[in-house]
């Protein structure tokens, strides 16, 4: 019997595996019992085995440091996060609903702008956002879909409910780690799988391929799909290579592609130029085409926007999709769902104060010590102020920032992120986590069973980003009871 579980308590937070009274939750019972029965020291050995497997499999991400870029081994906690299938079915439906509404919104914004004309969303919020790309106006991608891959971040508050924290619609990453995490768990804790029926996650690349292939402008049995990466120095290069390999697609850099006189996109191959049908873009749109966006980009392909606008190539996610990936626009998603789908939002959103609204701003400035303040357009957890965790000087700094540029800031109540038992040096302790499922949207929508659970490995911390010391867990959607 492993002593390290003794006295595990997470209150006042909601714990994913253990109830407030210290008992395993129903879906987690089998796994927790098994882990508790492991002889002392065994868990540490499994942890070491997982670290070795990660090194061997070469699962890494790149971190920028002053001494150059280094490949870091992927940080992983071996205790899985377990979610009952029944709960997941509701989440899944909510995510599909959200993805449909967001895509209706983007398509509307770049075409008729009905939602603005009807005054549901204030026009200036959308059209003045740096995420709104006028170059995309008038384009109608197939199925009306712009955000083909969406990574929505979910968190569970102390009340036990899941909330959508944000929708990542530009180039969301992390899905390869979801697949690799399962692979590692199978290697180091195979016994855990014996009494469970866990939804598999490893067919993501083939689901992604099918969705991408369905976008091809040419009717072909096997359209030419490529993954466009900024290159080896990008933090997510491992994932780009992983997905390309998993789809049997070429992993290309900007210099491998060119746009011909016929406005079609070609890749340079040993057989000569080969026409590309679909580009899975893992490079920011601002760097995608120096003719249309940043002229100084050396990563992009001149003329790519021309080819896309002319319908000669499909690009996923479509440039401009980020217009709905804005923390101010986020506040309007429930209205969008009602407006476009005539439905009530199935997933909860976090109450959001828009600093551009006078009464919201006054409330935010008066309650900075209780709120999380976020810049509207940053990702990766940068530029965020967690009110209760910072000193008065930082709060004053943010107050000045907000007054100077209110459109650029939103505030939300500080959520009590849920926890799960996590192996740390010296035992098992609760750590805060979130969940990033991935939604694929073509003609139909498909949601990963589970997603990537990210863990804040530092005690008490709420920051789960891998670029800032976050770790991850395998995420199980389990059917029936174990």
């Amino acid at each position: 019997m492993d002593e390290s579980w003794k006295g595990y308590r997470s209150a006042p937070y909601y714990d994913e595996l253990i109830t407030a009274k210290g008992h395993p939750r129903t879906a987690a019972r089998g796994a927790v019992k098994l882990l508790q029965r492991l002889p002392a020291g065994d868990l540490a050995a499994r942890r070491a085995a997982a670290a070795a497997a990660i090194r061997e499999m070469g699962v890494s991400f790149t971190v920028y440091t002053e001494g150059g870029n280094i490949d870091r081994a992927w940080p992983f906690d071996i205790i899985p996060r377990i979610i009952p299938a029944r709960e997941w079915a509701g989440v899944r439906a909510g995510l599909v609903q959200r993805s449909r509404a967001l895509n209706c919104f983007i398509d509307d914004i770049y075409n008729r702008q009905r939602i603005l004309a009807d005054g549901i969303v204030p026009a200036e919020i959308v059209l003045q956002s740096s995420n709104y790309k006028p170059q995309c106006a008038g384009v109608s991608p197939r199925f009306g879909v712009w955000a083909h891959v969406c990574g929505s971040d979910l968190v569970r508050d102390a009340d036990g409910h899941l909330y959508v924290l944000e929708d990542n619609l530009r180039v969301p990453s992390g899905v390869s780690y979801m697949v690799e995490n399962r692979e590692i768990t199978k290697r180091v804790l195979p016994e855990l799988f014996e009494n469970y029926s866990i939804l598999p996650v490893d067919d993501y690349p083939s689901q992604l391929y099918q969705m991408l292939a369905s976008l091809s402008p040419r009717e072909r049995k096997r359209p030419c799909v490529v993954v466009l990466t900024p290159g080896i120095y990008n933090a997510a290069y491992f994932e780009h290579a992983f997905l390309a390999q998993g789809m049997g697609a070429e992993l290309v850099e900007g210099a491998d592609l060119f746009v011909g006189d016929d406005d079609c996109v070609y890749m340079r191959t040993v057989d000569g130029p080969v026409r590309v049908d679909v580009i899975y873009r893992r490079i920011d749109e601002d760097f995608m085409d120096p003719e249309a966006f940043r002229e100084d980009s050396v990563l992009g392909v001149p003329g790519l926007m021309r080819a896309w606008r002319g319908g000669k190539v499909a690009i996923a996610n479509a440039p401009g999709a980020g217009v709905a990936d804005d923390k101010v626009v986020y506040a309007y998603v429930p209205e969008m769902i009602r407006y476009y789908l005539g439905e009530k939002s199935l997933l909860r959103s976090v109450p959001t104060y828009l600093c551009s609204r006078r009464e919201d701003r006054d409330y935010v400035l008066g309650n900075l010590d209780k709120l999380v303040v976020k810049p509207a357009n940053e990702s990766g957890g940068y530029g965020i102020m967690v009110g209760p965790h910072v000193d008065a000087a930082t709060r004053r700094k943010f107050a000045r920032l907000i007054e100077k540029n209110p459109r650029n800031y939103i505030a939300q109540p500080t959520l009590q992120l849920s926890t799960a038992p996590t192996c740390v040096d010296g035992g098992i302790e609760p750590r805060h986590l979130d969940l990033r499922p991935f939604i694929l949207q073509g003609r139909e929508a498909w949601v990963t069973p589970g997603g990537l659970t990210r863990v804040a490995m530092v005690k008490g911390s709420l920051v789960v980003n891998s670029s800032q010391g976050g770790g991850s867990k395998d995420t199980w959607i389990v059917e029936g009871r174990a």
Binding site: I232, L251, Y266, V270
Partner: protein, 312 residues
């Protein structure tokens, strides 16, 4: 399934750098061995290695005297110098790092391990005590990597370009070794007859050819036969003849291969003309010079045809 030009270029260089690492290790090892067998005062200088590897300008920048310590340090441990073993290994690694998706997974792991091994051990291996173990480890690790890709890669473009890179590098190295090595030995003729067989033996060893030579040709190591063997022996996988034939075999499945085929046939015709028994030292040098020119055109033709695809 086609292949991106950039990826083809990188796997081609992987083949070249891996072969360069292995042959440099063999060369230094063979020389290291020989030096111990030769009476004091009679050894040829260590600068010959610098000349074989075409590294004179780099060497001149770093030291005035091409003695054992300086030359071995340059070739074995100076990661910045393009003629060094660690440089070739690091370059091989960079080329796999960005082409992992077309290669067997073990290739990346093994090349990465070779890189880590060289980075850790190279400095300690300049002195005579650890030198040989280090060099032999590099050779055997390179051989394992070659075994993996040869035995697991589909016979597709990735295989083709690694193989072409490897064989072209090997042919190039063989011609350099004969050019500089034979000239050196022949230049000494009359003065050191007693140790000549040792020198020619070393030359064979640096090509892993000694055993094969003894079985095929016989127990007497003779200059004419050695040069012929390294150049012409069709059954020996490190002979120039064998390398050119191997490259020729990989060209037909590639599109737009006309120029490369033309150049490789020119190289093979040139080599076939090398059948005289009694060449003079200068003739040999002129012949090799010519042959190297053709090898370099072959490299150029490969780059122009498959790695630089024009358009927009």
């Amino acid at each position: 399934m086609t292949m991106l030009s950039r990826v083809a270029e990188r796997v081609y260089w992987l083949g070249r750098y891996l072969e360069r690492a292995e042959s440099t290790a063999r060369l230094v090892d063979a020389y290291h061995h020989m030096v111990m067998d030769i009476p004091r005062g009679s050894q040829p200088g260590w600068d010959i290695l610098v000349r074989i590897l075409d590294a004179q300008p780099i060497a001149d920048e770093r030291f005035r005297v091409a003695n054992e310590a300086n030359v071995v340090r340059l070739l074995v441990s100076e990661a910045e110098a393009s003629c060094s073993l660690p440089y070739a290994i690091q370059a091989a690694r960079e080329n796999v790092r960005t082409t992992r998706d077309v290669l067997p997974e073990e290739v990346w792991e093994l090349v990465n391990e070779l890189y880590l091994f060289a980075r850790e051990q190279a400095d300690k291996s300049v002195g005579r005590r650890h030198r040989q173990a280090f060099l032999q480890e590099v050779v055997s690790r390179a051989q394992v990597i070659n075994g993996v890709w040869r035995n697991t890669l589909c016979r597709d473009h990735a295989y083709r370009f690694i193989k072409i890179g490897q064989l072209l590098e090997r042919a190039d190295m063989a011609t350099r070794i004969i050019d500089v090595g034979a000239a050196d030995i022949l230049g000494r003729e009359g003065t050191q007859q007693a140790i000549d067989h040792l020198l020619w033996g070393t030359l064979l060893k640096s090509q892993s050819a000694l055993g094969a030579y003894l079985r095929q040709v016989g127990p007497v190591v003779e200059p004419d036969c050695v040069v012929r063997f390294v150049f012409m022996e069709p059954s020996f996988p490190r002979s120039v003849h064998f390398c050119l034939r191997g490259i020729r075999q990989e060209l037909p499945p590639l599109k737009h291969n006309e120029e490369a085929l033309r150049v490789i046939e020119r190289a093979r015709r040139k080599l076939r003309r090398f059948d005289r028994q009694d060449w003079e030292r200068d003739e040999l040098h002129a012949f090799i010079d010519d042959l190297q020119g053709v090898l370099s055109s072959l490299h150029g033709a490969i780059c122009d045809t498959w790695f630089r695809v024009d358009g927009a």
